[in-house]
């Protein structure tokens, strides 16, 4: 019997909708755009083949991520054997405090004070909020995006993240501090602010 054509399953489009998230996950682990694409591609193919076994007990995203996790581990093994180490990209090295001077004046006050966001929880129910959220994640420096994703989204241990990134805990904290400030500023500008543009 031929396999079911993927396009006849309404969940095909739904699966595709998770691609950006899955790519972010793969990139956080593999630090290599090409490898990450490969892992996601393999994950989506495997997911389509076994869609029938997805019972809907967990969210579709959780199910897809569990498939991707194995693809990532597999690719990590292959990458390790092929080239001793995937080179780290820019931004993981020690960060100086220069970025803080852009955000705070000489007396340590906010240059652009954080505003009060009205009813932010309601945003979580809106599809376009999540588009803005992803766009803001994309604007972070590579290391910031990776570390924030592992820490806040995946809830990984800070020690494990430091080890992966080969940075000290205090460096990790600086990266997270910066990522959080940039994210909140981006969301304020593009979603919660009075002149929001991304939403």
């Amino acid at each position: 019997m031929p396999p079911v054509a993927p396009t006849t399953d309404p969940r095909f489009a739904e699966i595709e909708g998770h691609r950006p998230y899955l790519l972010r996950y793969a990139l956080a682990q593999l630090r290599d755009a090409q490898l990450a694409e490969e892992a996601v591609q393999e994950c989506l193919v495997a997911a389509l083949e076994s869609l029938g076994t997805f019972g809907g007990k967990s969210s579709l995203r959780t199910w897809l991520t569990s498939i991707l996790r194995f693809k990532v581990i597999d690719l990590q093994r292959r990458a390790v054997s092929e080239r001793a180490n995937v080179p780290f990209d820019e931004g993981t090295e020690a960060e100086d405090d220069g970025w803080l001077d852009d955000l705070f004046d000489a007396t340590g006050h906010w240059r652009e004070p954080p505003q009060a966001w009205s009813n932010p929880e309601a945003a979580l129910e809106q599809r376009r909020f999540w588009e803005a959220f992803e766009k803001c994640l994309d604007r972070l420096p590579a290391a910031g995006s990776r570390v924030f994703f592992k820490r806040e989204v995946l809830g990984e241990d800070t020690d494990a993240i430091c080890k992966d990134e080969r940075i000290t805990p205090s460096n990790c904290w600086v990266i997270l501090h910066r990522a959080r400030i940039m994210l909140r500023a981006c969301l304020e500008k593009n979603w919660f602010g009075k002149e929001a543009t991304l939403g």
Partner: protein, 61 residues
């Protein structure tokens, strides 16, 4: 030191509190800053929201 913390330092403490337990001294300084700074209270709420949104992001359908 003994100086009062400013917004720059308060924002650092508010962030690092998600990674490690703050010392009693840090907590005291932070709280007295938050008591009189609505901007950092806004920032505090926003970090909580980011935390909540990130967790939702992981399991989003």
């Amino acid at each position: 030191m003994g100086d009062e913390v400013n917004c720059r330092e308060a924002s650092r403490l508010l962030s690092v509190a998600y990674e490690r337990r703050l010392t009693a001294g840090e907590l005291g300084e932070l709280q007295s800053h938050l008591d009189k700074c609505f901007m950092c209270r806004n920032f505090d709420s926003q970090l909580k929201f980011l935390h909540q949104a990130s967790q939702r992001f992981r399991v989003k359908n």
